[in-house]
Symmetry: C2
Subunit: 189 residues, 2 copies
Amino acid sequence: MRYAPTHKEEARARLVEATGALAKQKGFSATGVDSLMAAAGMTSGAFYAHFRSKNELLESIVQNELRRSAQLFAAPTRAQALKVLKGYLSNAHVEHPESGCAVPALAPEIARAGASTQQVFEQGVAELQARFRDLVGDDAKAWALLAQLVGAVTVARALPPGASRGALLDGAARQVEQLLAAAPASESS
Amino acid sequence: MRYAPTHKEEARARLVEATGALAKQKGFSATGVDSLMAAAGMTSGAFYAHFRSKNELLESIVQNELRRSAQLFAAPTRAQALKVLKGYLSNAHVEHPESGCAVPALAPEIARAGASTQQVFEQGVAELQARFRDLVGDDAKAWALLAQLVGAVTVARALPPGASRGALLDGAARQVEQLLAAAPASESS
DNA sequence: GTCTATAGTAAGATAGAC
DNA sequence: GTCTATCTTACTATAGAC
């Protein structure tokens, strides 16, 4: 064969990375296979050597993206985790979905995808929720924190830049602070 | 003319209603003009007698949907408003986007639409936030409540039916209760 | 494994009859 | 104002050369 044995998996990993960023930015179903592959420096013909369908790519993206997000929140110290939370509710995150969390960017498309996509999402969200549990101490508060973060970014992105967006992010940040203050860490400083 | 003078505005109102429900269910950009018009009992040719473009329809939908949502939360008594909040975080709302709130269903598409769509959304969200302010007493908490509701439904819809979805909705509901308890009503009981 | 080329379908929008 | 018919473009997916 003319390609190294590791070529395919490396190419696939690059594909999932590049198409994930584009999907988060422009929307998954709104982006054609041509554009997705172009973002990874290939043409659409090569797509089906890696994925059986476009929806199979979505599942790979969801898995890859949520794993990375969960790792971000698994910060070694509580102070670092708080910084990640602040960044989540920042204007930069709102304005740059391509390098941000996949949940606000892709959740509605996952909701309309098949059951297997939703199961992949459930696993990824479980990892995320587990990291939140480390921060707030109990399960229910961890779910509330997740919803608070995702809702704030979801709504902020649909608002035009301006005062209301800032007020929303600020209100969410205060609520997050309260969630963290109420339940002390189960983690080192 | 062969149509009553009120025909056009009535037809347009029906269009915005029917297409709004379909857009919330299947996604706006994922639904073709043919399907949208069929949902209102017409064919695609008639569409452009009412809207200059598909995006102009989205703006009308956003305006119409958010106004209705704001009215729902403007309940005469606090007890009734609490009931609407419970309904927002119910499994029924998660499973029936077509008759539910437009924010979790359409926010990402609004984020990717033009600036004028986002301004229409901002106005609608302002009405909603004002009703929440009546419930929780101050601005920041009202934004946090909005984010909590929207985030919970957004994530719940992407999860498969099951335990994690229930835990998420329950965690969000407890957080909402706390938001309402912390700030007493500025309204009659 | 990746390319070019293409099949087949569906999209947004317009034209002309009624 | 609504219809049928159509233009043009873009989509998902496949076929065959290299």
